[in-house]
Symmetry: C2
């Protein structure tokens, strides 16, 4: 009945996500979003209500793809619990070395958003909190499995170990954004695993 849309909404969302990922929310102008997506301003404001709304959808898109991929690794029962956590770290390190601009790592959009927006944007903070809660639940389950299969030796509370692993990932991402190279990140991951396996 009407003119069909000339662009792929999913592709535009992905382009916007990468822009926010690279520059942050405040430093990204609507002009930047137009150039990244290849759309006109009115197309963007027609499809998404506002810059704020577009950001929320981009963040949801990021959380969806990232956390889903990470949890898949954690729930791969072919390997021991410790090996799954090792694989998770490898995945994070690969991501950090892969996604860079201007010789520097982009970090992680959830971490970046926690730092830049969580205090001012309740909706974004809620999305982030739900995501970490979900991640912590799975991590705790993996720890308990590792207790049974013998790959996790630490007798610390499983919840504490889960938070520790989560914090370690955040620390690796910050280190990466601060200039740490791949071997530095790998050594951090190894020491982190010591706390679990010894």
């Amino acid at each position: 009945m009407a003119r069909p849309r000339m662009f792929d909404e999913e592709r535009a969302l992905d382009a916007a996500m990468h822009t926010f990922w690279e520059k942050g929310y405040e430093a990204t102008s609507t002009q930047d979003l137009c150039e990244a997506t290849g759309l006109g301003r009115s197309s963007i404001y027609n499809t998404f209500k506002s810059k704020h709304d577009l950001f929320h959808r981009a963040l949801a898109h990021y959380i969806d793809t990232m956390t889903t991929a990470q949890l898949a690794v954690l729930e791969d029962t072919r390997h021991s619990a410790a090996d799954r956590i090792r694989a998770l770290f490898a995945m994070v390190i690969d991501g950090e070395t892969e996604h860079r601009a201007g010789g520097r790592s982009l970090g992680c959009l959830t971490v970046n958003t926690t730092v830049e927006l969580a205090a001012r944007d309740g909706q974004a903070a809620g999305m982030l909190e739900r995501d970490t809660a979900r991640r912590l639940t799975v991590l705790r389950a993996v720890i308990e499995e590792g207790r049974r299969d013998g790959s996790i030796a630490s007798r610390r509370d499983a919840g504490a170990l889960a938070r520790f692993i989560n914090a370690a990932i955040g620390g690796m991402r910050i280190s990466s954004q601060g200039g740490a190279d791949r071997t530095a990140l790998e050594s951090i991951a190894e020491v982190t695993l010591d706390a679990l396996t010894h």
Copy 2:
């Protein structure tokens, strides 16, 4: 020979620092800086060349006070190496629970700046890199002392352990900004120490 300044430059710098700390660089307007410092715009632009310059001086002020205090704890030879690292973690946790706004932790200005600006602001990135290099050097020395006094059992490379500790602090700060409470942070610190003392 002339009219003396009505305000304390150091005090203004401190107020500006707290504003940048709370809101980030981009989200802080010159109006915010006027209100925080109690100065007029022209006084600010007279004393500091620009918003950018004011931020750099605020960041330097932050790094100076924070890192100096932290390194003092690390170099207190009255305690064992492990106890000094323990004290460092306690200091970080106290800071996170102390500096908050709107029920949320402000995190750490160096971490926040690493995330928001390091990729775009070479000068800020340089300041941050020098700061972490300085911190890593002292941490490595503490690790080696701990090897001698017996409080550090890990046989991992001292540089790797230093980076691990630094990353752990960053991870704790991110966790705190993401909503982790004091007991959560304390449990993360305990597990982190396991990797060094076991």
